[in-house]
Structures are given as structure tokens and as C-alpha cells.
Amino acid sequence: MEPVNTLCQDGESEGGVLAHLEKLEVQMSRSHKKSEELPRVQRDENVLRTKIHELRHLRDKLRAEVKRRQARVKACSANVETNQTAEISEQQVLEKQKENVKAILQAYRFTGLSGKLTSRGVCVCISTAFEGNLLDSFFVDLVMEKPPWIHHHSIPVFIPLEKIAAAYLQSDLQRFLFSLCEYVNAYSGRKYQADRLQSDFEALLTVPLQRNSLCNLLSFTYKVDGRDQSFSFSARLLYEDLTATLPTDVTVTYQGMEASTHWEEHRASHEILFRTKPLHQVFASFSKEVEKLDLSLVS
């Protein structure tokens, strides 16, 4: 229990309220002695009245003191509360900032290159896409020493990773990553086109699609329906540029029938189409072409 009386600096009740009470008690016992001379009843009455008067006075003072002390506690804890609130809102601010930065880090995958720092370097994630279709992701785990090296990766074996690494990894990390991006993304795009051809236009393929793992050599036979006849064309697509999603070399040939000038036009135009448009889009345009063909036969 704190020695209230010694520490109180309240000028009004020097020595504290309890000390005051003590004084009053002393006073009362003194006055009690004084009033012993008076007739007993009167004496008692006087004593009581005085006592009540003093007690009331003391009680009021105590009430005031309690009120004062309560107010101080309230103010003090309110202060603490504001600090607490400030602390909490700072936490909220930090939390929000953290979520914001996290979101931006996630958004990097739309650029094709994102990653996370590791204890030894960085794990880069290469995201691929073809004309807005989000495709597979691949990773390269790099140890950032001088010079940096690849710890492990998920790049398919047929992508010339070693060649690209030998050319750029030690000298220009950014160049290495973007170059690798080009190869991986192009592969992903070619694969997507081949997959779409197989899934969407299976009916048109008389000989199923043959492809290599790099998807840069494709061959297939497809039929084109005219009004009276149906013709078969055989196509061979070679993508020499591994960073491209369009073939560099296209050969379309007739399949087992005599050439005619009529179909020669189509054969030639198909070659051009395959060289300039994505594979599945070329097939999608074939139906329209047949319509045009029908019209030309009529005229």
C-alpha cells in the first residue's frame, strides 16, 4: 500500500486525506474531553452534531479526492488507448503496404518474368502465353554467385538452355532471361497451336498430326470439301527459328489425285496461310474458304 500521505502534493490537504481524518479524530477526542463539563445529554448532542458536521466535511473531501484520482486514471488510460490505437492503425498501414507489395510481385507473372528471392539467389518463373491464352510456367533456380549458375530448372530438355546460358548467363543475366523467355514462350505457343489443331479440327485430319517434342516440325494430311469432290492436302511445317511461332518453311502437296489449276490456287494460298497465320486459325478459316469456293464454281 502506497504511503499516500507522504507523496501527495495537493496543497489543500497537506499530509493527505487520511491524515486529515486522523487529525479530525484527534480533534474530536479533544472536543469530546472539552465538552465533558456540559450536561450529559447536551454534551452528547453537541458531540454528535459536531461529529456529523466533521464527517460530512471529510466525506465530501474524500469524494472529491476519489473523483480527482479517477479522472486522472481515465485520462491516463485514454492516453494509453490513443497510443494503442495509433499502434494498431500503424499496423494496419503496414499490413496494407505488405499486401500491396505482395500483389505487385504476383503481377509480374503477366510480364513473363517473375520470381522469389531464395537463400542463395533467386528462383525465376517464366510464364508463357499465346495470343492472350495463359499457358505453362517454367522455373529456373539461380545461385547468385560471381559468376551465377543454375541450381535446377524445369526447362524442357529440347530447349537449348545450355547454349543460351553459355552465351549470356555469366555476362548479362537480364539478357539470359529474356532470351530464354523467347525460346520457351515460342515453344509453348507452337505446342498450343498443335494441341488446338488436334482437339478442334480432328475431323478434318485424315492422317493425324505428327510432331516432334519441340513442336517445330509438324506434318498432317487434311481434307478440303468442295461441292462435288473432296480433296486431300498434305502439309509439312518447319519452324527453323525456335523463337518464332510461325513456320519458316511450309510445303503443301496434293494427295493422290491429279493436279488441277483450280486446286492449285488453293494449294498455294494454303501455303501462304500456314506461313502467316497461327495453325488453328488457318483451319478455322477453311470453312469460310469453302463457301467462297462454292460461289466461284457457280460462276
Partner: protein, 295 residues
Amino acid sequence: MAFEAGGSMDAEAREVRALEAEIAALQRRCQELPAPGEKPSGVRKSCQKLPQSDSEGWESSKDLRSHLGHLKSELSFLSTLTGFNIRNYSKKIEAVTNTEVTEEGTTKVLQRHRLSGNCNMVTFQLEFQVLEIQTKEKLSSAITDLNIIMEPTEYSELSEFACRAEERRDLLMFFQSLHFFVEWYEYRKHTFKHFKEKYPDTVHLPEGACSHCMEIHSTSRPGFELVVVWRIQINEEGKVSPKLDLLTKVPQRALVLDKNRVIETAPSSFQTLLGVLGIEAALDSLIKLLCVGNN
């Protein structure tokens, strides 16, 4: 009288007892509360109670700070590594309810993204939508809408390219090509600056270092000028490549005297030179040609 006195005395006695009780209670209360002037140890006690229950709160604020610091350094690293500085990003997700039951268990989610930042001197603002379709077999995502705003707008090649990317909704191609465009831009700037420093009197950059053409003046033969125009092209597939051309500015009299049609064939000869020597060496030899006259 005595009766009255006794009665009032009883009341007074009761009052005394009541007052004493109240005083005792107030005294106890007073002792509980800290006196003014003393350090509110009582208050401190109640204060300490608060953070204690929230001590995880205080600790995690420190944790938050270090976590945030780590994330920020990761962001800074990625920004330097890729050359893309993404400054703002937000995402809204809307679940598209598939009311027509075409296939069982198919859910579609539409995401709206907003992204802005810069790649070197080019700033971009993108808004795009991604549609995620989850069927039993697989999850496919595709960009269904793309809007690109780029600054600066004076590079016509860039604005054409941005339109094409928008049409195809090819966000990835936008970023990849932007990177290579900026790379070539920086290389052109660096190369032109190098030649200006090496041959200050002969080489003139009409638009400063960011110029897309370099003039080679012959000081000994005023009126003779070669202009190298260096454009950065982005083709249909998003491939970025430099396109250099040579223009000649020669007085009429010289043209007449040019029996071998050297000046006429200069532009195509320049292309051959480029193919053989590469950009820097080709430009260097071209400048030296005119410099011969200068010294």
C-alpha cells in the same frame, strides 16, 4: 424533550454510522487509486494488461516491418532484373455465374486487373480482363480484353505496336517486345552519343542523343551530307529489329560529276556494309570516309 432528543439522536447516530461507512468506503477507494503526483503505477498496471493481451500485436508490428522490408527488396530486385518497374497494381474478381448448364462443374471467374509502371523511359498503364474457366479436366485462363496507354506518344512504332497487342490481347508480347524496343533504343542512344563524342565536328544529332537520325557533315566539302536514319521496328509477331537507312545530301554539281553513280548506289551499299561489319563498324567507316576530307 428527552424523547425528541432521543429520536433525533437516533437519526443523528444513524447518520454518523452512515457517514462513517461511506468514509470508510471512500478511503478504500482512495487507496486503490494512485495519488496525484505519484507515478501512476496502478495505471501502469492496467496499461500493461492491455499490451500483454496484445503482445502479439506489438511483436507482429516489428515482424511486419521486417517482412515488408524483405518484400520490398524482392520487388526492387525483380524490377532491376526484368527492367520493368511495376508501381501500381489492383485486381478485382467477379464470379460469372453460369446460368446455362452447358457442362457440369464448369465455373467461370472474371478478373479485372489494373497495372501501371514504366520500363526505362516508357510509362504504361494497362487495364485487362482475365477469364478463368474451370472444367472437370482442366483450368484455362485467357485475357479477354486489353487496354494499353503508353507514354511518350511520339514513337509511332510503339503506338502501332500497342494497338496490335490490344487487338490480339497479347499482354505478354507487349511486355517482351517493349523490353527489346527499350533495349534497342538505349543502344541507339549510346551509339550515337559515342560517335558524337568521337567525331564532334563531323557528327550532328539534330534531336540530341534521343535522335533517330545521325547527320554526318563534311567540313571540308560543305554541302555534302550523309544522314543515317535508324528506326526500331516491331513486326507483326512482336519481333523488334533495327532498320538503318542512308540518305545522301549532295550538291547538284557533284551528282553530275558522279559517273560511277557512287552516290546513287550509296544507300544499298550501306546495307551491304551493315551486313558485313555490323552497325557500329559500318557507321564508323562511313564517318571516317567523310572525315578523310576534314583532316
